[in-house]
């Protein structure tokens, strides 16, 4: 599956295209299929996202899992600061990245 991701313009936070908007949670990301480029240009033009790009991901029971470690780190947060991750209360959350 293909995901569209980028960073919020104002905050710089990682964000994922959900099909009708943006979410900071990769679990909410939608498969953009062949429409990624068109959505990307429209959303970038409307300044709802900064530096967007399309990635490969695998569908799992818990939602999409980006194919590359870089995007999994983007999705959760730095592996060396669990307190800054999106799941600070889950000590095993980092296993998802590796």
């Amino acid at each position: 599956m293909k995901l569209l991701t980028g960073n919020e313009l104002r905050s710089g936070a990682v964000t994922w295209w959900t099909g009708n908007g943006w979410s900071i949670h990769v679990e909410d990301a939608a498969d953009v299929g062949e429409h990624g480029e068109a959505i990307l240009h429209a959303e970038e033009g409307a300044r709802r996202v900064n530096a967007p790009y399309i990635i490969d991901a695998l569908p799992t029971a818990n939602g999409p899992r980006p194919a590359h470690i870089k995007d999994r780190i983007r999705a959760l947060g730095p592996t060396v600061r669990a307190d800054f991750s999106l799941k600070p209360a889950d000590p095993a959350a980092g296993d998802w990245i590796i």
Binding site: N7, L9, R10, S11, G12, A13, V14, E44, R47, N50, A51, A67, H68, I69, K70, I73, R74, G77, P78, T79, V80, R81, F84
Partner: protein, 542 residues
């Protein structure tokens, strides 16, 4: 320390106002990201993995307690309560919001700080010896020259769009504590027949094509230095490879045309530049130098009481001789076992500022090894300083030992990285946590980069580690034999790479080989240079 004059303050304030307007227009959609990106980069603002990152300049790594407290304030108010000190003597904040960036720059400007030229294809922050003004072996204090270069290079109209970024280091000691020859231009201030001048090295650097800068001129008189550097930059600006980013650094130009031809062209250009009268008059040099006058030393030469064993270990490892009797240079390690190299919390930054104000004539330095220095501490005060550091968890006695690791932010933060650096550093430091074991190994400079851009200086590590991407999996190459010091050398890859745990094991095996083969007082790198790579390869790869 140098203090801004009205002109310095005016240009920094004007830049803040410019950037505030640029951000406003970007958020309003009046300019695109393609238009905005070069503007934000000129103000040190990157877009990294998780957020915007702001790199703040610390000119030649020197700052006072007020500035240091401002860095803590920025971390506390605008970031996540910490900052990351870098290998170019700067500080980076990893969680900055675009809409707050101009406010940050405005606050920095109130203490004579900024983020100008911390990115982009321009002359970056001038770096220098962290012991400048305090080192017993220096010919002259290099800071006035670094400051002169800062003023010359700031907003230099001809050099704001160079083929690629440009880094200059200035030292004034035969011992190189600034990796001088691994810079685009390295200057070693020397005296020749009593006259002050500089050896000029051009074309060094790390990155994907590491090179040691050749000596382009063995002695440029101090009076000619700016004109000579102007000529060096002009030749580069004219002929540097703008067509290929991987060949755009000056090291490639000099490698391609040869040091002799580059030297000839610089001499030709210098003959012209010298007629332009850009070298400052003596009065200006004296004005700048006056800011760096020695502090009012007043301590008698008494040795500290070594009865506290932890203090004694710290004293032996982290405290260095001073040129002034009764004083010492204190190195504050930002490398706690299992910690993140170069990171300091707001509270720790405040503690260091307080200690500098009380015990180091209000001055601190940032080192390229991502540590902090208090350059002027009276020996009578060393125990009190150590107690203050210990209470803030800043008293790790590991300077230049295997756990004093340089590591770039790596894939945990950096959009350019291919692999994580910090977890490897943490695992190695933890493996060698025992201080007796570290001290037995002695000086061992281990440096880790998460990509070929080499921000973690792996090429210059006695042991270097380079993280690469092997089909989406992190892999780590080992290099041995690098050095950024006066015995400068580029490390060599020893063989196939490892996974994260494998590279930690390999490092440990290398230290065992060293312990078995070392002679006398040899350091790891000395033994490696004497015996070569084979004994290490055999132990590591079996």
């Amino acid at each position: 320390m140098y203090k801004y004059d009205n002109y310095d303050q005016a240009i920094v304030d004007a830049r803040v106002a410019d950037f505030r307007d640029q951000v406003k227009r970007r958020i309003a959609g009046e300019i695109t990201e393609d238009q905005f990106k070069p503007l934000r980069l000129m103000n040190g603002l990157y877009l990294q993995l998780h957020a915007y990152m702001l790199r703040v300049a610390i000119p030649y790594g020197t700052l006072d307690s007020t500035q240091m407290r401002m860095l803590a304030h920025i971390a506390r108010k605008y970031d996540r309560d910490y900052g990351h000190f870098t290998t170019r003597q700067n500080i980076q904040y990893n969680w900055i919001k675009l809409e707050e960036c101009a406010d940050i720059l405005e606050e920095l400007a109130t203490v004579e700080m900024h983020a100008i030229q911390t990115s982009g294809n321009c002359i970056r922050n001038i770096s220098s010896d962290q012991y400048a003004g305090a080192a017993a072996d220096e010919v002259v204090d290099p800071r006035p020259w670094a400051e002169l270069l800062r003023q010359w290079s700031t907003f230099h109209p001809e050099f704001s769009y160079l083929p690629r970024k440009f880094k200059i280091a200035v030292i004034a000691s035969s011992e190189d504590r600034a990796a001088m020859r691994l810079h685009d231009i390295g200057l070693e201030l020397i005296r020749q027949d009593g006259e002050l001048g500089a050896r000029v090295f051009v074309g060094g650097g790390m990155g994907r094509t590491p090179m040691i800068a050749p000596e382009i001129n063995p002695f440029v008189k101090a009076d000619d230095l700016l004109s000579y550097l102007e000529a060096c930059l002009r030749v580069y600006n004219r002929y540097g490879r703008r067509d290929n980013i991987y060949k755009a650094r000056i090291k490639i130009l000099i490698h391609e045309i040869g040091a002799d031809e580059y030297r000839r062209q610089v001499a030709e250009e210098f003959a012209h530049v010298k007629t332009l009268g850009i070298d400052p008059p003596l009065a200006e040099l004296e004005r700048i130098s006056a800011f760096f006058a020695p502090p009012a030393y007043d301590a008698s030469d008494v040795e500290p009481d070594r009865s506290d064993p932890d203090f004694a270990v710290w004293l032996d490892q982290n405290v260095k001789p001073h040129k002034q009797a009764g004083y010492a240079i204190v190195n504050i390690s930002l490398k706690p076992i299992g910690g993140i190299p170069g990171d300091a919390t707001s509270a720790q930054i405040d503690v260091m500022a307080d200690l500098a104000e009380k015990y180091s004539f209000d001055e601190l330095r940032v080192t390229h090894a991502q540590n902090i220095v208090l350059p002027y501490v009276a020996k009578r005060d060393l125990y009190a300083v150590w107690q203050g550091l210990r209470d803030a968890e800043l008293a790790d006695a590991n300077l230049d030992l295997i756990s004093d690791i340089i590591a770039c932010p790596g894939l945990d933060y950096c959009s350019l990285a291919n692999a994580r650096s910090i977890p490897v550093a943490q695992k190695i430091a933890t493996r060698f946590a025992d201080m007796d074991r570290q001290r037995d190994l002695g000086e061992l400079k281990l440096k880790i980069s998460g990509c070929i851009n080499a921000c973690g200086h792996h090429h210059a590590g006695h042991i270097g580690i380079l993280g690469v991407d092997r089909k989406g999996v992190e892999n780590y190459q080992l290099t041995f034999g690098g050095s950024g010091a006066e015995d400068v050398s580029i490390g060599k890859i020893i063989g196939p790479g490892f996974d994260e745990d494998g590279v930690v094991d390999a490092v440990e095996k290398a230290t065992e080989v060293y312990k078995a083969l070392r002679q006398g007082n040899e350091r790891f790198i000395d033994t490696y240079r004497r015996v070569g790579m084979n004994p290490f390869k055999e132990a590591i790869y079996g």
